[in-house]
């Protein structure tokens, strides 16, 4: 293979909070870090460049493990982004409903429509109560669910990296990353 093709290269832009972890993972698949720099425009991005020999043994298997690892990192990011999506939506919806019911109820009461006013005011109170009770419950549930998912994904990352290390003849394959 000619010299200019003898090294494979890969360049990544990674989230700053995961950059150090990712930097440790890629060498498990035979990559060597060649460059690293902070993004000039965005504070939460770092750029990493790696290279490895084109004819590394077990290349197919290493590629498969590496891609699966990358997918797990991106899924963790998605989990973190969507963690409170359901509770936030519920909170917002109930809050808006509560305000609207309160406004409507007040107007009806002021115009001496007692029944309607009381009904809407009650609905408003129930909405706010739902926010107060349901919101935290949902937050706790989401926390627990995403924590489990993230924990599983992180375990899989470690497994892929350990297998990668075994294939590349790295250090003790059972060492945690």
């Amino acid at each position: 293979m000619r010299e200019e093709f003898s090294k494979e290269k890969i360049a990544l832009s990674v989230k700053e909070d995961k950059a150090d972890y990712i930097k440790e993972c890629y060498p498990c698949f035979g990559w060597t870090l060649t460059e690293e720099w902070a993004d000039r425009k965005f504070f939460d991005l770092r750029h990493l460049a790696f290279e490895r020999a084109w004819n590394i043994p077990h290349k197919d298997r290493l590629q498969y493990l590496q891609v699966r690892m990358e997918m797990r990192f991106n899924r963790i990011q998605t989990c973190q982004r969507k963690k409170f999506a359901a509770s936030s939506s519920l909170f917002f919806a109930l809050g808006v409903a509560g305000v609207l019911f309160l406004a409507g109820g007040s107007l009806l009461l002021l115009s001496s429509r007692l029944v309607g006013g009381i009904v809407l005011s009650t609905l408003s109170a129930l909405s706010f109560l739902g926010m107060a009770i349901g919101g935290p419950l949902l937050v706790r549930r989401e926390n627990r669910r995403y924590a489990e998912q993230v924990s599983l994904l992180e375990r899989e990352i470690v497994e892929f990296c350990q297998e990668g290390r075994r294939l590349t003849g790295g250090e003790d394959g059972t060492k945690e990353i």
Partner: protein, 532 residues
Amino acid sequence: MAQKRYNPITTVKIGKRGSTIRRGKSPQKTALHIKTESHGHGFLKICIVALLVLIQLIVLVSLFLWLSGVFWGYLAFSFVASVLAALHVLSTEKSGHNKSVWILFLLCFFFCGYVFYIFSYVEPFYGKSREKYEAIKERTKQYDRDEVPALDDPRLRQDALFFRTVGPFPVWEHTQGEYFPSGTKLFDDLLERIEGAEKFIFLEFFIVADGSLLHNLSAVLMEKAKAGVDVRFIYDDMGPKGQFSRRTKKMLKEAGVKLYPFNRLLPLFSLSINYRDHRKIVVIDGKIAYTGGVNLADEYINAKRMYGYWKDAGIRIEGDGVDEFTLLFLRQWEYLTDAKEDYAPYLSLAEKKEGSPLIVYGDGLDYRANIGRSAYINLFAKAEEKLYLMVPYFLPDETIENLLIEKAHAGVDVRLLIPEIPDKPFVYAQTRNYAERLLSHGIRVFVMKDSFVHAKVMLTDYAAIVGSVNIDSRSFYEESECAVYTADAKILSEISEDFTACFGDSVEIKERKQSLGERIVTGFLRILSPLM
């Protein structure tokens, strides 16, 4: 002094003393992003073409509806035309399912259905193309070989006779092969071997896209072309979707590489727009040839992420069998360029190698029979112990579906490997639907984790096929294809190892009860599947 509150907009001192830039939060949603992707303007081209086609369709349908409203006679005429079209559908060799869908469409949309049928039906508009191919084959028939050697295995003998009849595609006995279980391995090998090219390099691909792979290969091709090597490159004009940039094409042409698109894509409702060149062929000096599922783009070597891990496969052959790929390419080249040349300098250049029976075959308008489909049917029908299929799209007609079921009932170990991550959601939904229907018959279906399986590999206990042919009506009826049929024990063993490794990385899907919604959607998609 009050402590500064955290501000996500931080400032960084750069450049001249005192000059700063404000850094914000990035829009990147993923934790990591591979930066080797290149972005062509293919999306824009597709949008323009799609918009123009849509406008023309709207004009056509509006015209028909207006005609129907104004002229009662037209309604009567269109009804009769649609009935005649339906009768014609019944007389064709399409599968029963395909015929039912067309007849339903023609009778429901009788005011314009017959026109769509005429536009979609291959024969009337490909007649001239077929004649041209026939003329080319007639002119070059002295290069065809049709001898069938003495073969001990009666199954191989039957297959050999089949290929001789439909081609003729001869059996090559002095050809060696090597199976590659990934695009990465195939292109690594190709980049090494292509350095030794001295006379000619022929390439034919469905998808060609700018990226690191094309950049590296182009560097070699340009060097070789400048050194006097005859470098010819056929690419499908629809495959790349605009990602084979004009700049790259210009560079290649200026270096002396002869580039030709297959079935140029114009923003008009072209009658032959549906017919594409799906072949993947590389021939080096008439001594080495490659084929498989791989195209010339970074996702095929996993340098670009599209649908998880891209699982592909291919094969390299060395020996006299390479001549068949050379012939397929040169005939396609003559069809496109009208250049009538003597093929002799490009043939019989390879050394004879120790090998086992191997057949190289093609499919397309240059052949009357649906060779890709029939080759699979012949192979599946003779499986006695195992029958493994690795495909991205599994939309079999009744013949193939029933054959697989009967094989499973007869105790053959039938397994199907499909992707977990789809590239086309509707087609994937149908693939899963067809695959899951086989579960109750004892066929095992595996879904490769975190992967898009793009390989087209069929393995039985006595032979295998590796090539470009999917199990869907596009590959069988509307595309030029190619493949290698082999009974070489070494290659069969390599393919078997690949399947075993993939099954290990897969989840086996089990029978499950579909919800009502799923049944409705998959039933509707099943009706449309002959058109996918």
